[in-house]
Subunit: 268 residues, 2 copies
C-alpha cells in the first residue's frame, strides 16, 4: 500500500483461508498486481499480537504464530521475474533467499529481518546478507546482530557482513543510514502527535522507501536519502490509525506536503 | 567552557573547600570571568555519581549530595547585572529564581532542571517557568512535568506553563525544539562512535547553545536552530573524554567543521 503511492507494485505473498480481508478489494484502484498472492485454504494466516508501552515506541510481543509462513514460500510469478527493485519483507531468511533466487537480475534488493531469526537462524541471516544491497533493521536488532552497543559502530560491522547500505531504525527517533563508501544520513521521525497504532510502521517505511527508489529508477546515496524521507513520512501517516486506514485515507499530495514539512523541520 | 568558544562568559557558582580543581587555572587563557565564583571553605562541593548502562544513554543515579547547593546561592557580581543572555544551570528552582532576580534586564533566559525538582518542588518549578524564555529538559523529565507521554504534546503543554521555547533533549537521539508560535526544529545528535563519558553532555549542549546565541546577540527561531546545532556539536566533543578533556583539547575550528558535517548528515 505504501509503495503504491510512488510506483506500480508487484505483490508476492501467502495467506491462509482464514484471512479476514478480500485483498483484491483492499487494493482496488491502485497499481498493485496481486498475481503473486496465494491463498492456501487449508492453512492459517500469520498472526502477531503485542502490547505497546506508554511511550508507544517499546512493545512486548504477546504472540507470534508463523502458520503459513512456516510452510513453503509462495512462487514468484513469471511476469514478475524481471523486477528491478525488490523488497523482502520480514520472514525466515531461508525463505527470503528462495524468493530472491526467483528474480532474474534485480538492481536493488532490500531486506527486513527480526530478532527471532538473528537468535535462531543466524547462519541463514548471514548467507542472506551476502546476496542483498540494503538491510533495514531496528536498532536493538542491529546491536544484537553486530554484537556492538554503539549504533554507528554496529552499522559499520553489519556493512562488512555484505550489504552496501544499512538503515538503522530508531522508532520515534528516526533512522541512521550508512553505506560502504562512508556516507551517512541521519533523519528524525516526523513529530507525530496523533499515534493510534505503531504496528506496521516499519513496513510502511520500507514500502515508501522502495516505492520512491523504484519511481526514480536508481539508488545512489542522494536518491536513498530522499527515499528514506518518503518512507519516514508514509510511516507517520500509517501510525495515525489502525490497520491500513492511515494510508487509505490519504493521497500522494498529502505525502509530498509532509515531505516538505519534514525538510523544513530539520533544516538549520 | 562550552560557551567560551563563542562569546565572553560571566561565571556565577559556588564550590566547597574540597573542590579538587583550581578553576582559575582550568579557565586560564579563555574569556571566562570568574568574579562570580565563590569558594566556601567550610562547605562541601556538590557531588553526583551514576552508572551508565551499556547503550551509554540510560543511566542510574547512585549518589546525589547537594552539599553547598543546599545553602544560600552565590551572589551575582554588580558588573554582571547587565548580562543579556543568562543560563541558569540545574539547581533548586527557588535558587534559580533568586539568581535571576539579581540580573537587571536579561534578553533571553534559559533554564535546566531535573526530575528531583519536578517531584519535590513542583510549585517552585512552575513559578520559575513563568519568568524565563527557554526550558532545556530531558525527554523523560518533560513527560513527567507535562504528565503526557507523547513528547511533542508534552512540549506544547510546557509552553503553556510560561516559556516561549522548549528544547526537549533525547540523548543520543538529539532534540526537538518548539516555540509558542508553532515553530518546530528536530535535530539528531552527531553520530559519535567515540563515547567515553556522557556526564556533562547536557551542560555542554546548553553552554554551546547559549554561547552561540550570545555571539549573535539575538534569539529568533532561525538563530535558535543554529545555536542548537552548535550545542549538539559541542556536546559530541564533550562525551569523547572524561571531565573537560573533550573540550580543552579542541578549537573553535573543530566545532565549525563538525557543525558543517552535521548539516551535511541531515540534509536531503
Amino acid at each position: 500500500m505504501s509503495a503504491s503511492f510512488f510506483a506500480p507494485v508487484r505483490f508476492v505473498g501467502v495467506v491462509g483461508g482464514d484471512c479476514p480481508f478480500d485483498l483484491a478489494k483492499v487494493f482496488a484502484g491502485r497499481e498493485v498486481d496481486l498475481t503473486g498472492l496465494e491463498i492456501r485454504k487449508q492453512s492459517k494466516t500469520f498472526r502477531w499480537a503485542g502490547t505497546y508501552h506508554e511511550n508507544m515506541d517499546d512493545r512486548t510481543t504477546d504472540l507470534t504464530e508463523l502458520n503459513v509462513l512456516a510452510e513453503a514460500p509462495p512462487g514468484v510469478p513469471g511476469k514478475f521475474k524481471n523486477s528491478k527493485f525488490v523488497f523482502l519483507a520480514n520472514t525466515a531468511p531461508a525463505l527470503q533467499i528462495q524468493l530472491l533466487e526467483q528474480v532474474d537480475k534485480p538492481e536493488f534488493v532490500a531486506v527486513d529481518t527480526m530478532n527471532l531469526w538473528i537468535e535462531n537462524n543466524l547462519d541463514d541471516v548471514k548467507a542472506l546478507l551476502k546476496k542483498i544491497d540494503c538491510l533495514i533493521i531496528n536498532e536493538d536488532e542491529a546491536r544484537m546482530l553486530a554484537r556492538q552497543n554503539n549504533l554507528v559502530k554496529a552499522g559499520e560491522i553489519i556493512l562488512r557482513m555484505g550489504p552496501s547500505v544499512v538503515i538503522l531504525k530508531k522508532g520515534e527517533s528516526g533512522s541512521i543510514t550508512c553505506n560502504n563508501k562512508g556516507d551517512k544520513f541521519i533523519l528524525p521521525a516526523y513529530p507525530a502527535t496523533d499515534v493510534k497504532d505503531p504496528t506496521g510502521a516499519g513496513d510502511s517505511f520500507a514500502g515508501g522507501f522502495m516505492g520512491s527508489l523504484a519511481q526514480r529508477g536508481k539508488a545512489d546515496f542522494e536518491t536513498l536519502k530522499k527515499a528514506i524521507a518518503y518512507g519516514t513520512v508514509v510511516a507517520s501517516f500509517s501510525i495515525a490509525d489502525f490497520s491500513l486506514n492511515g494510508l487509505t485515507s490519504i493521497e500522494r499530495g498529502d505525502i509530498d506536503r509532509r515531505f516538505e514539512a519534514l525538510r523544513k523541520l530539520t533544516t538549520f
